[in-house]
Assembly symmetry: C2
Homo-oligomer: 180 residues x 2
């Protein structure tokens, strides 16, 4: 079985309960496509913002990792990290520089390392939980309308949305380069 | 309970088996955000392609409906519609004009009507199926590596990716307008 074939199926994942396993399959698929979309990018390309766009691909990758980290606090620790000191280093990435510094000057290796580390912590935690927890409501103040299932769906869904944007930005970068 | 609160939960849907219900919740959420992203757009805005971009928002909306229709054939009818005469009208939308005509000159109402009609047929069919079917492999020639679960996840995931792109295109259109 090649990897390509594997990626077009959602199958039970023995290390997770069934509902969490399905979600993890989706998160893994989304991540695989994100990695494909940024393959071999240089720091200059990661920092470039083509005309008509607001964010660089580096900013979007850091935002995806910061979102994962945000929902770890919200979902696993029952707290809103937006005002917490430990989340301060990720505010800039989370808000695209609206609050905190804009992400810039980071290598692809560094950005992917952060994505991997953060996601590994999420998956380790999800492996300890079960489908009853997945259906339960979030307890973090300000996030109580959500349930856990939606929260992690949303982390995946937000990544897919930004991956779609990464594809457009990368195409625009190539076009700008070709027209020089 | 306001709609906003409802949208941040994935909850059992009695008209579907559990696994299909979760997927339908995700598909409905994705669609709600697509509709938000294109709210009140004029035909001129739907047809416009800002500098640096390849596709209009109208083209992306028609592509989302054509994808739903493609997977109806693949998933429910065990056939590859790409060469079938009944799919010919949607080839242009599916391929962004690569094969067939580019989508142009359609009103938002018309594009949303097609999205709604197509999705209603998908949901009606999903309500007749069950989680054993969801885990089964696709039988359509050329699509056998997929299982049903991934196929409908992918329809949702592709829509989310294009919704992310729609947000960028709409922002670029507004910026171009402001600079005139």
């Amino acid at each position: 079985m090649t990897d390509d074939q594997r990626w077009t199926r959602i199958e039970p994942q023995p290390e997770y309960t069934p509902g969490i396993g399905v979600l993890v399959e989706m998160m893994n698929y989304a991540r695989m496509t994100t990695l494909q979309a940024v393959k071999d990018m240089s720091m200059a390309e990661l920092d470039d913002i083509p005309p008509g766009f607001s964010n660089s691909i580096g900013m979007l990758l850091a935002h995806v990792a910061a979102t994962d980290r945000l929902y770890q606090a919200v979902s696993f620790e029952d707290r809103d990290p937006f005002e917490a000191p430990d989340y301060a280093p990720y505010q800039g990435a989370m808000t695209f520089g609206w609050k905190g510094e804009k992400v810039q000057g980071r290598t692809l290796e560094d950005l992917l390392h952060e994505l991997n580390e953060t996601r590994a912590a999420t998956l380790a935690q999800l492996a300890k939980l079960d489908d009853a927890w997945l259906a339960s409501r979030i307890k973090a103040p300000g996030f109580e309308d959500m349930n856990q299932h939606w929260a992690w769906f949303h982390v995946m869904e937000d990544e897919v949305s930004h991956r779609g944007q990464i594809r457009l930005i990368r195409k625009a970068l190539k076009r700008a380069e070709a027209s020089v």
